[in-house]
């Protein structure tokens, strides 16, 4: 974490002038030229990432998760099971799944939910969709707000900068989790009376909005710092001297130089949101039935931990692996984009 709060002053633009040994310098003897390839800093980062074994493994895990999540309806059609199907005939009189390990069988690969009798694999696969969708949209929203506010504050200086700083401090003083917990049902009450059931999409939008509105601060701080340090560089002066407008300087000159740290924060924000979303669902404030959700599965499983621990194990393990893979990938991404950070 510490290397993120002190973003490297080195930028792709600066790199190009110091240059990397791979870049051809001066005339080379013919025949050896083929061994030297000019590579941009981005290509170098990509190469480093490809060489990283953990990065490859975690990227593969995430790819599988994404394919499974996207292909959930296909899998449902293949097995002929819908996430809402209830196989009550396969539960005993106490509502517990019949058979070994939570009712694992050739029809139900991960068994059945005790009580409701739904297929755990289907719940898991559709829950993965909910989880990934919310995490990615929130991370995108938070980053967009963060970048916009950060660029604005860093570029404008003066009272606007102070205002943004104060706003960041204020947002950081809000107990985010507890606040999210309280705000979501209250806002829902505003838009829906208790007679009508709120649409699942509304709840999801509410969660994404809350996450976005409270998580932009980190990105904003980072971007602001970067903009302040880049603002005084020669290439900005050169662009201005060449008659470039503010929009051009911000979008075409500054932003391309700070995308690397932004990418790293996004990649580390996603696992956090996956965990927080599940935490909210865990106290029954997250996504509502019938939308499948990993956190709510764990919440529902609390009462069955003693009798059917498998019900807790599968969603718990899914969230753990998902978060772990994202964290590892984020770390690897940071290492490859910032060659100086050695651990």
């Amino acid at each position: 974490m510490s290397d993120l709060s002190h973003p490297p002053p080195r930028t792709p633009a600066a790199d190009a002038t110091i240059s990397v040994p791979e870049i051809q310098a001066g005339p080379e003897p013919a025949g050896r030229a083929a061994e030297f390839v000019g590579r941009s800093p981005n290509q170098l980062a990509w190469l480093r990432l490809k060489r990283d074994r953990t990065a490859r493994a975690s990227a593969l895990t995430l790819l599988v998760a994404a394919v499974v999540a996207l292909g959930a309806p296909l899998l449902g059609r293949l097995t002929g099971i819908d996430p809402t199907d209830k196989f009550v005939d396969r539960l005993n009189d106490f509502g517990m799944p019949i058979g070994y390990a939570g009712g694992i069988s050739s029809d139900h690969w991960l068994g059945l939910e005790p009580g409701s009798g739904r297929d755990i694999l289907m719940q898991l696969v559709y829950g993965l969709r909910t989880s990934l969708f919310i995490a990615f949209t929130s991370a995108l929203l938070a980053s967009c707000i963060g970048v916009a506010v950060g660029v604005l504050a860093g570029w404008a200086r003066g009272w606007l900068d102070s205002l943004v700083n104060w706003l960041i401090d204020l947002t950081l003083a809000f107990p985010f989790l507890i606040f999210a917990l309280a705000v979501i049902p209250i806002l829902q009450d505003r838009f829906y009376s208790d007679r009508e059931a709120p649409s699942p999409a509304f709840r999801v939008a509410l969660i994404v909005a809350t996450f976005g509105l409270f998580s932009w601060t980190y990105t904003a701080r980072l971007v602001r710092g970067q903009v302040i340090s880049l603002r005084e560089r020669e290439f900005v002066d050169a662009a201005r001297a060449a008659g470039a407008g503010t929009a051009h300087i911000l979008l075409r000159q500054l932003l391309p130089n700070i995308w690397a740290p932004i990418l790293v924060t996004v990649s580390l924000m996603v696992p956090q949101f996956i965990a927080i979303e599940a935490a909210l669902a865990f106290v029954n404030i997250g996504v509502t039935e019938p939308t499948p959700d990993l956190g709510r599965m764990i919440f529902n499983s609390i009462g069955y931990v003693a009798s059917d621990p498998w019900y807790t194990l599968f969603p718990g393990l899914t969230i753990f692996l998902l978060v772990l893979a994202f964290n590892l990938l984020g770390d690897a991404l940071r290492d490859s984009l910032d060659p100086r950070s050695t651990r």
Binding site: P175, I178, A182, I186, A278, G295, V305, A306
Partner: protein
């Protein structure tokens, strides 16, 4: 030093005012009818009007806010005649649903959360920092690599999963520990500790993973600095170099994070409390939110914010005490 503290307190007070305004606005202006929400589904229009009158929410919003703030500092009285309810000095509101001043609810719940957090924090700081330090001093050894692996996994583990695993392994299948329960410390320290051991372990193990990673990185950075080389060159014993010189410098950023983590947790460890069925502040918030018990929600959210703001100040002052390089001015 004094000037710094005073300025810091003023900023903190301003932050709290703004947070209370936002929370108040959100919880009392946003719901279509706070009284209806508080009263429940079976209330008639008359009941609602009565609730409104008793709680003073028939007044305009600025007046309501002023009454709330007045209640916090001077106490206030709700209702009249038979329904008169006194709410003494730190009055955080009156819960119609529980028929109880919110301050009383908070006072009942806070010791539970405090016990969970303080016990857990001792475990996670002790375990995390020592693991990180040893790991940094033995960099590259098998121990270090094992520690990196374990802490990496631990940092991605979730309380709601890990807690249930521990519950299954230690309570349900082996019976090594009793199911968590809260006994006040003053009543029986032994039962207090025994009942909270499981939540302490859950929070302690998971958070120590983060702290171990952090302190390992900090320690490695510090060990490569010049003053460590100087200390070694002076002929100081390794033990003294590591603890008195390296650890002291490496611990400063950890204090910041620990302070904020503890402050945030004091506002309610709602997941831990939900798993183990402990009636702490977090559980109170979750329950209040489910029934939209607005006065309780408002009070617990505000309290959580107060803890964060106070933790920030404490951290700033601690900084100057621990790190000789920091001078407050």
């Amino acid at each position: 030093m004094l000037r710094f503290v005073v300025r810091r307190l003023l900023v903190a007070a301003l932050t709290l005012v703004v947070i209370s305004l936002v929370t108040f606005g959100l919880f009392f202006a946003v719901p279509s009818s706070p009284a209806k929400v508080m009263c429940g589904k079976n209330c008639t229009a008359e009941d609602i009007a009565q609730v409104e009158r008793r709680l003073g929410i028939d007044q305009p919003l600025p007046r309501q806010y002023a009454d709330f703030v007045g209640g916090v500092f001077a106490g206030r009285t709700y209702g009249e005649g038979d329904f008169r309810q006194d709410c003494p000095a730190p009055c955080l509101g009156y819960s119609f649903r529980n028929n109880q001043p919110v301050t009383e609810i908070v006072a009942q719940r806070a010791p539970v959360t405090f016990s969970i957090v303080l016990g857990g924090a001792v475990l996670w700081l002790g375990l995390g920092i020592s693991l990180g330090m040893v790991s940094a001093l033995r960099r590259g050894t098998a121990f270090d690599r094992a520690a990196i692996g374990v802490t990496l996994a631990g940092a991605s583990m979730q309380v709601y999963f890990f807690g249930l695993i521990l519950l299954y392994l230690l309570v349900y299948s082996t019976g090594l520990l009793p199911f968590p329960s809260y006994t006040p410390l003053t009543e029986s320290p032994a039962r207090w500790a025994a009942g909270l051991l499981l939540p302490w372990m859950t929070l302690g193990f998971l958070n120590s993973a983060l702290y171990a990673r952090l302190s390992r990185a900090q320690m490695l950075e510090t060990l490569s600095e010049d003053f460590i080389r100087t200390a070694r060159a002076k002929g100081l014993p390794a033990r003294q170099v590591h603890t008195r010189h390296a650890l002291r410098a490496a611990i400063t950023p950890i204090v910041t994070i620990a302070g904020l983590d503890i402050g945030t947790s004091l506002g309610g460890t709602f997941i831990t409390e939900t798993i183990f069925g402990l009636q702490g502040l977090g559980k109170a918030t979750v329950e209040a939110v489910q029934f939209l018990n607005l006065p309780v929600v408002m009070a617990t959210v505000l309290l959580a914010a107060v803890f964060i703001v106070v933790a920030n100040i404490v951290v700033d002052v601690l900084y100057a005490v621990i790190d000789p390089r920091v001078r407050l001015g």
